[in-house]
Point group: C2
Chain length 199, copies 2
């Protein structure tokens, strides 16, 4: 299969690439790295990306920013960071990418453990992750041509404990291998509208 | 208790008012009706609302618009209708309203069955409802002064079947009485971070 991985150089993206790269052709997309550069919050750049890649069998997104801060320090505009980047960035990839997918092709988005489980400073992330999972459930039943859409909700990766562990005291970290498997299940499986949690 | 109900004249708002109005002082807020008018998508108007009401024991929101359309007809700007109105309108009420709540006071938001269960034309609603539930779970653990926040997810009300039933074939409608009870559970109960579903 020919697959696009957006956010391919991140911790989660590397896990996806390690799992899928050995048996598929991967177009790696990153904000500043990879085969093609993309700022996911800019839908014009998403259009340009697909115009350049042409038709593919799947697109996987593990990208997008969210503002982490104490609830009483999150202003209206801080919520819009996550809404414009992680939420609408991924949704725009799903919407703009559909015509570029072969029949039966797949869209795989990324949420995360925050939201299902609350953490301090995580209200905006919880909002965005819930929105993404809702969108995937809603969109799955309306996609044409047997296109599929799923979302992976990874827990804190073992590789991220050093950087982010202080937000996640008491959470069991998950291996990159297990996270990669969840994306493979979405891309190479046959289900749609699923939330694949890795905990 | 002194309570604000935003969207008090709507189908859900009337159900809330019928349940809580008999034993509490209600300030009814509507877009064009009620004691005070408010466009919930405008945070300046939300600030003005609380400046006018002063301190209360609870605020309940059953308001906000979402764009319903087939997935392939939902453009980026259509998603922003729901993000700016139903989602950020309710979130802004929760954030701006906190200082106006007495200790132990409650915030009650409204999502809906769409998202948990997908319906055609409902991808944007599914996104917004998921976002609201995620926000409530995330925010609950960070509220100060024993403030509480919950969300009610009503199914299709019996009163709405005539207008909306064609979107919800096969769904069991719920009574306004049962929906009102869920809001009472949030306002008069002691839990926080809960999603009270009425199905």
């Amino acid at each position: 299969m020919k697959l696009i991985i957006i956010g391919a150089n991140g911790t989660v993206g590397s896990a996806i690439n390690n799992e899928l790269g050995s048996r598929h052709d991967i177009i790696c997309v990153g904000k500043t790295s990879g085969d093609i550069q993309l700022d996911i919050s800019d839908s014009a750049q998403i259009r340009a990306l697909f115009a350049r890649t042409g038709k593919v069998d799947g697109v996987v997104v593990a990208a997008g920013s969210v503002h982490f801060a104490a609830l009483n320090n999150i202003e209206e505009q801080h919520f819009h960071i996550g809404l414009n980047s992680k939420l609408m960035g991924q949704v725009n990839v799903a919407q703009i990418g559909q015509p570029y997918l072969h029949d039966g092709g797949s869209i795989t988005l990324t949420s995360g453990v925050v939201g299902e489980a609350p953490i301090r400073h995580g209200a905006s992330a919880a909002m965005v992750n819930g929105a993404l999972e809702g969108f995937v459930r809603g969109a799955a039943i309306e996609l044409p041509r047997s296109l599929r859409i799923n979302i992976v909700s990874p827990g804190l990766l073992e590789e991220s404990v050093a950087a982010l562990g202080s937000f996640f005291y008491g959470f069991e970290a998950v291996s990159a291998k297990r996270v990669g498997l969840a994306y493979a299940r979405s891309v190479e499986g046959a289900q749609t509208g699923q939330v694949y949690t890795v905990r």
